[in-house]
C-alpha cells in the first residue's frame, strides 16, 4: 500500500459566471481518517463537493487519487474511483419509494429483474443503525426532512465508497439523529473508510475530525491535525463568520417619537405549527430559527397567505387577519422573499423588478410601460448595487445578483412587513454582505422584519431577537447579550442536557 494520501486536491479553481467560487483550494485526506473542511457558507464547500462528484468540472488544478492524477468528468467516473458524495440539498426523488432512492441507478438484479427483497436485505442493517425507522415502500416525499437527509447519506454509504464526501450532513438532523450518524461514521472510519466532512459549524467538525482544513473565499487558509489545534486557533476559526455582518444602524432612536407599527401573532396553528405567539415592531429584525421541518418557514408562508392557518389571530399594522392569497398580501404591503422563489431568468432585470408593482399593485398607470419600468429599474439597480444594466436578462446574473433582484422587486411598493426565508442561502460572500446590509437598511426604515434561516451564525449576527422553533412550537427566545449561535442551536435541537461528550464545547467557550 502506498503512503500517498487517498485523495489530494491541488490548487483547484472554479468560476461560476462572473464569480470566483474556488480560487486556490488544496487539501489532502489520509486513508482511514475523517477530514473536516470548515468554512462559512459561500466559502466554496459545495462547489468543491460538486467537483468531486463529477457534476461540475474544475477550471484549474488537479485531483489525485492514490497519488495518480485523475480526471473526474462525470458522476460515473467519480463512482468508479470509489467516491460517493452526499450533496447539501440531497439530490433525491420525492415521488419514488425510499428503496428506489437508496439504490438509484445501482438496483440489484435477480434473474434480470430488480429485486426488492435484495434491496431490503442490503439496506436493513444500515437503516437500523442510522435510526431510520421508516416504511421503505413509502414515497420519499412523505418523510421528514431529517429522515430524507439520512436516506441520502444511506444511499451513498450503500455504494461502499473508499471516500465519502458529506456536504453539511447535519443540517436537517436533530440531536439524536446526529449522534447516531456520527457513531456510524466513526465506525466506518475504523473500518478504513476516508471521510471528507464539509461543514460551517466548527463544533461539529471538532467532534468528529482527525484533521481540520479551514476554507475561506475559495482558498484553504489553515490545515492541521485536530490534536495540534490550539485554543486560539479554534477561537479564530470560530470568529470567521462574524466579520460578515454589518453593524446595526442605530435607527430606533429616530423612530422613537413616532408610532411604530406592530405585528402581533397569537395562537397560530396549522400544519406542524401549534400555538405560536409573538409580536414584532417596526425597525426590529426578528429571527426565526429552526431545523428544516420545524415549522419556522411555515410561519412566514402563513403570514404571506401562501399556507392556510387552522386557527390563530394575527394583527398586522393595517388591520386584523391573515391575507388569504399572496396577491392580497402584496397589496397590503407584506412581502416574502425565499431562497427558492427565484427570478424570471428569461426576462430582463427591469421586467423582474417591476413584476410586483405590475402584478399586484396599482401604480397609477393602466398599462405596463417599458419606459417607466426601465426608469424605476435603473434607480433600483443603482441602489441594490447590481453590476449589470437593467435591460440585461436576469438569468445572466450570479445567484447573489438574482437574490438581490428578488428582494429589490418588493422595495418599489414600500413594504411594511418584510418576510425573508433564507435570503442568503447558497450565495457568495460578497453578495451576502450586501444583502445583510440591505436587510439592516430596510429595518432602519421602519419595516417589520422576520428572517428565517437555518444558519445560526446568520441569525445571531443579524437579528435583534431570535425565536427558536422546535417541532412546530416556540422553544425559546434569545435576545441581546445572550445572542450566540451555539445557544440557538441548543434550543432548536432540544439539547438542554450538558454539552456534547466530545470536546466541542470547550472550543465554543474559548471562542466566546
Amino acid at each position: 500500500m502506498s503512503d500517498s494520501p487517498l485523495i489530494s486536491v491541488r490548487n483547484l479553481a472554479k468560476r461560476l459566471g462572473g464569480f470566483v467560487a474556488l480560487e486556490d483550494m488544496s487539501l489532502a485526506a489520509e486513508r482511514g481518517t475523517i477530514h473536516a473542511v470548515v468554512g462559512e457558507s459561500g466559502a466554496g464547500k459545495s462547489v468543491l463537493a460538486r467537483i468531486l462528484a463529477g457534476i461540475e468540472g474544475a477550471d484549474g488544478g488537479a485531483i489525485e487519487i492514490d497519488g495518480h492524477k485523475v480526471a473526474i468528468d462525470s458522476p460515473n467516473t467519480a463512482r468508479k474511483h470509489g467516491l460517493a458524495v452526499v450533496q447539501q440539498q440531497s439530490a433525491l426523488f420525492p415521488d419514488r419509494p425510499v428503496l428506489a432512492n437508496l439504490f438509484v441507478n445501482r438496483e440489484p438484479l435477480q434473474s434480470g429483474l430488480v429485486s426488492r427483497r435484495e434491496m431490503r436485505a442490503r439496506s436493513f442493517a444500515l437503516l437500523r443503525q442510522l435510526g431510520l425507522a421508516v416504511d421503505v415502500g413509502a414515497p420519499l416525499g412523505e418523510l421528514d426532512p431529517g429522515e430524507r437527509q439520512l436516506v441520502g447519506i444511506a444511499a451513498a454509504l450503500l455504494e461502499h465508497p473508499r471516500l465519502l464526501v458529506l456536504d453539511e450532513p447535519c443540517e436537517a438532523l436533530d440531536r439524536n439523529q446526529r449522534d447516531r450518524l456520527f457513531a456510524v461514521l466513526r465506525e466506518l472510519k475504523a473500518r478504513g473508510m476516508t471521510i471528507l466532512h464539509l461543514t460551517n459549524r466548527l463544533e461539529e467538525a471538532l467532534a468528529l475530525a482527525d484533521q481540520v482544513t479551514v476554507m475561506r473565499n475559495g482558498r484553504d487558509v489553515l490545515s492541521k491535525p485536530r490534536s495540534d489545534l490550539t485554543a486560539t486557533e479554534e477561537a479564530m476559526i470560530g470568529q470567521l463568520g462574524l466579520t460578515l455582518f454589518p453593524l446595526p444602524l442605530r435607527s430606533l432612536s429616530n423612530l422613537a417619537g413616532t408610532l411604530r407599527p406592530q405585528l402581533t401573532v397569537s395562537g397560530l396553528s396549522g400544519g406542524r405549527l401549534a400555538g405560536v405567539e409573538f409580536s414584532a415592531r417596526g425597525g426590529e429584525i426578528i429571527g426565526l430559527a429552526g431545523l428544516p421541518g420545524s415549522g419556522a418557514s411555515d410561519v412566514l408562508a402563513m403570514l404571506f397567505g401562501h399556507r392556510r392557518a387552522r386557527k390563530g389571530k394575527v394583527r398586522f399594522p393595517d388591520g386584523d387577519g391573515l391575507p388569504r392569497t399572496r396577491t392580497e398580501a402584496a397589496r397590503r404591503g407584506i412581502c416574502l422573499t425565499s431562497s427558492h422563489a427565484g427570478v424570471m431568468a428569461d426576462r430582463s432585470i427591469a421586467f423582474n423588478l417591476s413584476s410586483v408593482v405590475v402584478g399586484a399593485r396599482d401604480w397609477g398607470r393602466r398599462w405596463y410601460s417599458p419606459k417607466a419600468a426601465a426608469e424605476r429599474a435603473a434607480r433600483q439597480v443603482e441602489a441594490l448595487r447590481i453590476r449589470s444594466g437593467s435591460d440585461e436578462l436576469a438569468g445572466s446574473l450570479s445567484t447573489g445578483g438574482r437574490q438581490k433582484v428578488a428582494i429589490g422587486r418588493w422595495l418599489e411598493i414600500g413594504p411594511q412587513v418584510v418576510l425573508l426565508d433564507e435570503p442568503a442561502r447558497g450565495i457568495d460572500t460578497g453578495s451576502k454582505q450586501e444583502i445583510y446590509g440591505l436587510i439592516r437598511q430596510m429595518a432602519a426604515s421602519g419595516c417589520i422584519m422576520l428572517l428565517h434561516s437555518t444558519e445560526m451564525s446568520e441569525l445571531a449576527g443579524l437579528c435583534d431577537r431570535v425565536l427558536a422553533f422546535r417541532d412546530g412550537r416556540i422553544a425559546g427566545e434569545v435576545a441581546g447579550a445572550e445572542m450566540d449561535a451555539a445557544a440557538l442551536r441548543k434550543l432548536i435541537t432540544g439539547d438542554t442536557a450538558a454539552p456534547a461528550p466530545e470536546p466541542a464545547t470547550t472550543s465554543q467557550r474559548n471562542a466566546a
Binding site: 441507478n105 438496483e107 436493513f124 442493517a125 416504511d135
Partner: protein, 344 residues
C-alpha cells in the same frame, strides 16, 4: 446512545423485519371505478354483461389501450407524445401498401413496427438536438406522419388482398373461440410492460428521470438515452397497434387512430399516472382504457345520443383528477397527524 447496536454490518444479510404499513396500490381507484361502472350498466341493462358483449368491448379498447400503456412510459418521464395516432396510422398504411405490393404480410407488419420505432427515435433525437420538450417535437411529427400517410394512402381506405400466410386470419381470429387475438396481445403486452416499468433498471431509470431529472443525471443516469429509449418504445407500441388494427380489420381507413394520443393520455391519467412525472402505472392505464370504453359503449347501449360520449369521458377524467387530489390531501393530513403523535 447507540450502545445496543454498534456492530455495523453494512452489507448485512440480516433478515428484513420492517413491517411496511399497509398502503393501497395506486391502481385501486381505477379498479373500483371499473367495477362500479360495469355493475351499474349490468344492472341497468342485463345484456351488457354477456361475455360476447364484454369481449367486444375489450377488443375495442385494446388498440387505444396499447397506445396508453406506451404513453405511461413517456408520461413517467414528464413528457408527452402527441404523434401516437399518426404513427399508428402511418404504420398501418405502410404495412398495407407493402402487402398490396406482394411482400409477405408478416414481414410487412414487422416493417410497420420498425417504422414506428424509427419515428419514436427521431422524436427523441430531435428533442435532444433542438433542446425542446417532446410535446413540441411530436406535434411536428404528428403533422408529418399524418401527411405522409395521406400521401402514401392517397386519402382512401386501403384494403390489401387477403393472403394464405395466415396474417389476417390470425389477427382477426379468436383464441378458444371467444377471446379476440388483439385482446390477447393487449393483456400480454400490459403485463410485460408493467414488469418492465416496475421491475427493471430501465423502468427505475425512467421514473427517476421523471421525478427529478437533475438528480437523475447526478446519480449517473444517462437521461438522454433513457428518454430516447422510452420514446422508441412508445413508437414501437404505436406501430404495433397499427398493424394489429390492419390485421384485425383487414383494412385501414383515413380517420382511424385520429384521437389516439388524447385517448392514451386520458387513459393513463385515469389509471393513476401523473403528468408531473416520476410515477406511472401500466396496469392502471390499461384499466383506464377499459373504463373509457365502458363509458362509450355503455352510453350507446342505453340509447344516449353518441354526441354526449365525449362529454362523459371529459367528466370522468376531471373526476379522476379530483379524486387523486383529495387522496393526496388526505395523505398529507395523515402524515401531519402522525408527526404530531410522534412528538406527543
Amino acid at each position: 446512545m447507540t450502545t445496543a447496536d454498534t456492530s455495523p454490518r453494512l452489507a448485512g444479510s440480516a433478515t428484513p423485519k420492517t413491517k411496511p404499513s399497509f398502503r393501497l396500490p395506486a391502481e385501486a381507484g381505477v379498479v373500483v371505478a371499473l367495477v362500479v361502472l360495469v355493475g351499474l350498466l349490468g344492472w341497468l341493462q342485463r345484456s351488457f354483461l354477456e361475455p360476447a358483449n364484454l369481449f367486444a368491448l375489450i377488443e375495442q379498447a385494446a388498440l387505444p389501450g396499447i397506445a396508453a400503456i406506451g404513453m405511461v412510459f413517456v408520461l413517467s418521464l414528464r413528457e408527452i407524445d402527441l404523434s401516437v395516432g399518426a404513427v399508428f396510422h402511418l404504420a398501418a398504411v405502410v404495412a398495407a401498401v407493402l402487402i398490396a405490393a406482394g411482400i409477405d404480410p408478416w414481414l410487412s407488419a414487422l416493417a410497420g413496427v420498425a417504422l414506428g420505432t424509427c419515428i419514436g427515435l427521431v422524436n427523441g433525437l430531435l428533442a435532444q438536438a433542438l433542446r425542446v420538450p417532446v410535446i413540441a417535437v411530436t406535434l411536428g411529427t404528428w403533422w408529418i406522419a399524418y401527411g405522409l400517410s395521406s400521401v402514401v394512402g392517397k386519402g382512401q381506405a386501403i384494403t390489401p388482398p387477403a393472403d394464405d400466410g395466415g396474417f389476417f386470419s390470425t389477427l382477426s381470429g379468436k383464441a378458444f373461440g371467444v377471446v379476440p387475438a388483439s385482446v390477447v396481445i393487449f393483456v400480454l403486452l400490459a403485463l410485460t410492460l408493467h414488469i418492465v416499468l416496475h421491475r427493471t433498471r430501465f423502468g427505475y431509470r425512467v421514473q427517476a428521470t421523471g421525478s427529478n431529472p437533475e438528480a437523475a443525471a447526478d446519480a449517473g443516469i444517462a437521461t438522454a438515452t433513457v428518454r430516447l429509449m422510452a420514446l422508441a418504445l412508445m413508437g414501437a407500441v404505436a406501430g404495433l397497434a397499427g398493424v394489429i388494427h390492419l390485421g384485425a380489420q383487414g383494412a385501414i381507413a383515413p380517420a382511424d387512430g385520429n384521437d389516439f394520443a388524447l385517448f392514451a393520455i386520458t387513459a393513463a391519467l385515469i389509471g393513476g399516472t401523473r403528468l408531473s412525472g416520476g410515477h406511472g402505472s401500466v396496469v392502471g392505464a390499461a384499466i383506464g382504457a377499459l373504463v373509457i370504453q365502458v363509458v362509450l359503449s355503455g352510453m350507446a347501449l342505453l340509447g344516449i345520443a353518441s354526441a354526449w360520449t365525449s362529454f362523459a369521458v371529459g367528466v370522468l377524467l376531471v373526476a379522476a383528477l379530483a379524486v387523486d387530489r383529495l387522496g393526496r390531501i388526505w395523505r398529507s393530513h395523515r402524515a401531519d397527524r402522525r408527526q404530531a403523535a410522534k412528538r406527543g
